[in-house]
Amino acid sequence: MTRHILFAVVLSGALLAGGCTEVIELDLNTADPKLVIEGYVDNLPGPYYVQLSETLNFDEPNQWPAVGAAQVYLSGSDGSADTLVETTPGLYATRHLQGQPGVTYTLAVETGGQRYTAQSTLPQPVPLDTAYTERQSVRGGDALVPVLVFRDPAGQANYYTFVAKRQGWPLPGFFTLDDQLRDGQRITRPLRSDNFDLQTGDTLRLELHSVAPAAYDYFYVLSQAAGLGLNQSPTPSNPASMFEGGALGYFSAQAVSARTVVVR
């Protein structure tokens, strides 16, 4: 919506006068590196991964510094517990823990003399009815768009995030939905993006994640900021920290339903 309107602003400007864009040098502040934690546990067989990295200054290349040699623990309210092992620098994997719906998990990370913890409860999975790709209009023309279809469980608040993976790599962008306006309905959710660049024959894994409210809020804020691109809100902000101790990033216990589709 906002995109369309702001496209119109630029269009009016361009139409009337020929607006122009230019890369400029800005003297942005530098900030001390901060820890970034990306961690999840789900209802599928493990291992589950926790990635530790650090922030960079705006003008540095995107070579995210890995944070190695940290102590990473995952434990569940059902008494399960695991100590993660570092498989590649900054990437920690569980050894035996198996995620279960209804269990509250606690992630604890110790590094640099600090301890960071977060909790998340794994929701019940919501099955995908179907998933496919089709040609739809996105900003800047038509594109192949992944579509996920599922029925929202009635009578409860549900929160979703969506991920499309190609050859194991998530496609860019953040996609979220809550059922506030459509509790119990059959939901068709296209993942519209003008930079997926899908080609006929690509194999995609489309995932529906049932997530806890805190994870939904986290990705919702990112979807607002990232999806806007040109049209940033006047007061962009960081998503609220999910970690005691104040690290950036998220910890999400999530129930995953997935389908593999071939782009046609």
Binding site: I5, S12, L16, G19, T30, A31, N62, P234, T235
Partner: protein
């Protein structure tokens, strides 16, 4: 407190010792050629003593004086002043007619030594001369009163080429824009680049920067009071213009000569025709245009009764190929009845309708949906003006508005189906009553005082929610039709005084409180047609501002030059901001996403103005600070609001080279607005995410721009008058930043870069205007 002081003042005229026999001189001041009433004409009567008054918004004046012989002078900028000898031996009605004319200006100069500028009590008020506005250089040849207003001290543009404005640190929604008394909720066309006001139809523009008199209320920062022309009541006339992107036509004439007149003005843009020339198929499928229509009629039933009917209709239409369409617009209608009970008591009754609506259509495969949203007011306003003597004037009135708000429910287009949920309309009943007076205490001191009480009742039917501290809904209560959910009442004292210190200088002080019950929720810059209007609710309190101003006023060079310096300090309560994860659209519980804080704004405004001669114009400079404080933002510290702009300078010059050629120039410079830029970045799920350390901790680059204009007029005296107007906007093609965004480098995804978007480089334009 203040109320207690007021009552004795009100009674003063009744307690004054009976003087010699007194008679009332009353009447109307009009333009001699068109019959248009003139607002704010200064009348001065010199006899045994000197008396004065000013014509009101309907051109009416009334003054009660001791019997005797007087010399009457009437003065008005741009008009020849008139003088006549008058022997007042009975109540006298007088119709005054002033002639406009350049050649006669020198006469005016002579008469304006003791400028009304010095003695009137109102502060922070500016009246714009429509004739001057029409000579300013403009963007695309479209004359625009809102852009002219932005050249005044204390009024700041909301962005390059934008007609939105900020007054003394207030938001765009804190300006009450009235067109013939009807509030206009969205005063811009084409996404902000043009105002909804076609200057062909406009008679008078007055802006009050927070210290508005008691008859105005409902917004915190300013009132922009725009009056439409009445239409020529003597002869049929037409005028119009053909410009690069729009054409205009204005027709006016008598209904019954001397008794009634009408006016119809229309405008339509055709910029989208250029889209068809584009090679880009996608561009060619876009539609983008607006039109507006003003109409007005008035009829003088007899000497004591007059009716006015005026209306406005404007609409913007935008569609992007076949996927997306939006159209929006305002409609207003005002029916007014002027009644003179007696030569001392003037009354006006207005019935006003105002509506703003937008409609969005999204057509994308299975996900078609439309959303209709509007805000609609029915408004009854009654005011009496009483002129009991020569040193007192009073106003009393009430206003009752019934608001219906159908919320703008939008889901992001990439968030799939709109399920067809209906959102409840919201109803509000806004009532105000005011009592105000103006007292000339001798030749030097003048005091205006008033009390306005504003009340807003949130009405059912509907479900109203309560939220806990964490923003979770804790209770829902259902109210029946017309049931009162909550009432807010705010007493608003207004006081201002002027003291003339010497023949050419004066000081003034003023205080005003304002309350605002309707707010615009917007999380975009500089504002979208789909921004959401919300009324006060059980959760959303009204905003309140208190403003204190002090000023120094001086005339130079026999009144050719005016200078003023004003300072203000404004305290704001219950300013609105949003939680970080606020979802303002498609969310019936949006109230939980709002947070409230304090604001403060202060500044110094300097204004030099040259009013007469071949060279006229002004220099305005504003030094100001606008800050906000919210418990949850920037750790509770004060932070600069987006519209915080430290320095703002405008230089405007109009030069009459010859009777047929005039040129104009303006130069605008301001330091950058506050902005939030990233101070770092990190990676989440393979996406680059920016790290923000502080709200509005950065500044946009400085803005400056020079515009030139020239106007050529055909030989006067002929029936068909024509004029060519040339403008160059942004002469030296400065690339002023409209937005700065942060993106991945298109060629090297491992890098991020800051990208500046500039909209208007040098834009020349020409338009042809005619009159017959």
């Amino acid at each position: 407190m203040l109320k207690k002081c007021l009552l004795p003042l009100l009674l003063l005229p009744l307690l004054l010792p009976a003087q010699d026999t007194q008679y009332t001189l009353s009447g109307t001041v009009r333009d001699s050629a068109s019959g248009e009433e003139l607002i704010g004409v200064t009348l001065r009567l010199t006899g045994a003593a000197v008396f004065g008054t000013v014509s009101n918004e309907y051109g009416f004046f009334s003054l009660t004086l001791p019997a005797g012989s007087y010399h009457l002078e009437a003065q008005y900028v741009g008009y020849a002043s008139i003088g006549q000898v008058l022997d007042l031996q009975k109540n006298t009605a007088l119709d005054l007619r002033l002639s406009s004319g350049m050649a006669l200006r020198e006469v005016v100069v002579q008469a304006q030594k003791a400028g009304e500028h010095l003695s009137r009590t109102e502060m922070g008020v500016e009246k714009l001369n429509v004739r001057d506005i029409n000579r300013l250089p403009v963007l695309f040849g479209e004359r625009d009163i809102l852009k002219a207003v932005q050249l005044l001290p204390g009024v700041k543009s909301a962005g390059d080429g934008n007609s939105g404005f900020y007054v003394r640190g207030g938001g765009i929604d804190q300006n009450l824009i009235l067109l013939d008394e009807a509030p206009v909720y969205n005063a811009s066309h084409l996404l902000g680049f043009f105002s909804t006001f076609n200057s062909d139809a406009i008679k008078d523009v007055t802006v009050y920067k927070g210290n508005q008199p008691a008859q105005y209320g409902g917004r915190l920062s300013s009132v922009l009071d725009i009056k439409m022309n009445e239409g020529n009541d003597q002869h049929f006339h037409g005028s119009g213009g053909i410009g690069l992107i729009a054409s205009r036509l204005n027709l006016e004439g008598p209904i019954v000569p001397g008794k009634g007149s009408f006016l119809v003005t229309g405008r339509r843009t055709y910029a989208d025709l250029f889209l068809n020339l584009s090679k880009d198929e996608d561009l060619r499928q876009n539609t983008l245009y607006f039109y507006d229509l003003n109409a007005k009629a008035n009829y003088r039933i007899d000497d004591r009764n007059r009716l006015f009917l005026s209306g406005y209709l404007g609409r913007d239409v935008f569609s992007q190929s076949e996927n997306f369409g939006i159209d929006w617009g305002n409609a207003t209608a005002t029916l007014r009845w002027n009644h003179l009970y007696n030569p001392q008591l003037f009354s006006n009754t207005s019935l006003i309708f105002s509506q703003y609506d937008f409609k969005v259509d999204v057509r994308a495969g299975d996900n078609d949906f439309s959303i209709v949203s509007n805000i609609r007011d029915w408004n009854l306003k009654q005011e009496w003006q009483w002129f009991p003597g020569n040193s007192h004037k009073f106003r009393a009135g009430f206003n009752s508005i019934y608001h219906t708000i159908t919320p703008g429910e939008i889901l992001a287009a990439d968030t799939a189906v709109f399920s067809g949920n209906e959102f409840q309309d919201r109803y509000g009943w806004e009532n105000a009553a005011w009592l105000a007076g103006e007292w000339s205490a001798g030749q030097r001191l003048k005091v205006s005082y008033g009390l306005r009480v504003d009340a807003f009742s949130v009405l059912g039917p509907g479900d109203f929610f309560t939220f806990d501290a964490a923003g979770q809904r804790s209770n829902t209560q259902t109210y029946a039709r017309h049931e009162i959910v909550k009432t807010y009442a705010v007493p608003e004292p207004r006081l201002s005084a002027s003291y003339v210190l010497g023949p050419s200088y004066s000081i003034k002080a003023s205080y005003a409180r304002n309350a605002q019950f309707l707010r615009l929720l917007s999380n975009s810059t500089p504002g979208n047609p789909t921004d959401r209007w919300t009324s006060a609710t059980n959760n959303i309190p009204p905003g309140i501002s208190d403003q204190l101003s002090l000023g120094w006023y001086q005339n130079f060079g026999d009144g050719q030059w005016e200078f003023s310096a004003e300072t203000y300090y404004k305290w704001l309560q219950q300013e609105v901001d949003y939680r970080n994860d606020a979802d303002l659209y498609g969310n019936p519980y949006y109230e939980a996403d709002l947070i409230y804080g304090k604001g403060r704004a202060y500044g110094l405004e300097l204004y030099w103005k040259k009013k007469t001669g071949a060279l006229t114009g002004w220099v305005s400079y504003t030094l100001s600070r606008t800050e906000r404080q919210f418990a949850d933002v920037n750790e509770g510290r004060w932070w600069p609001a987006r519209q915080d702009r430290t320095h703002d300078l405008a230089i405007v010059a109009l030069y009459q080279i010859s009777p047929r050629w005039s040129v104009s120039a303006n130069w605008v410079y301001y330091t950058g607005d506050a902005a939030t830029f990233p101070s770092g970045k990190y990676s989440i799920n393979n996406n680059t995410v920016f790290l923000y350390t502080e709200r509005n901790g950065y500044r946009m680059p400085d803005y400056h721009r020079l515009d030139l204009g020239a106007t050529w007029q055909s030989r006067p005296g002929k029936r068909w008058q024509s004029e060519w107007a040339f403008s160059i906007y942004n002469l030296y093609a400065r690339e002023n930043a409209y937005t700065i965004t942060f993106e991945q480098d298109a060629y090297d995804p491992s890098k991020t870069e800051a990208v500046r978007t500039a909209l208007f480089k040098m834009v020349p334009s020409v338009s042809y205007n005619f009159k017959f």
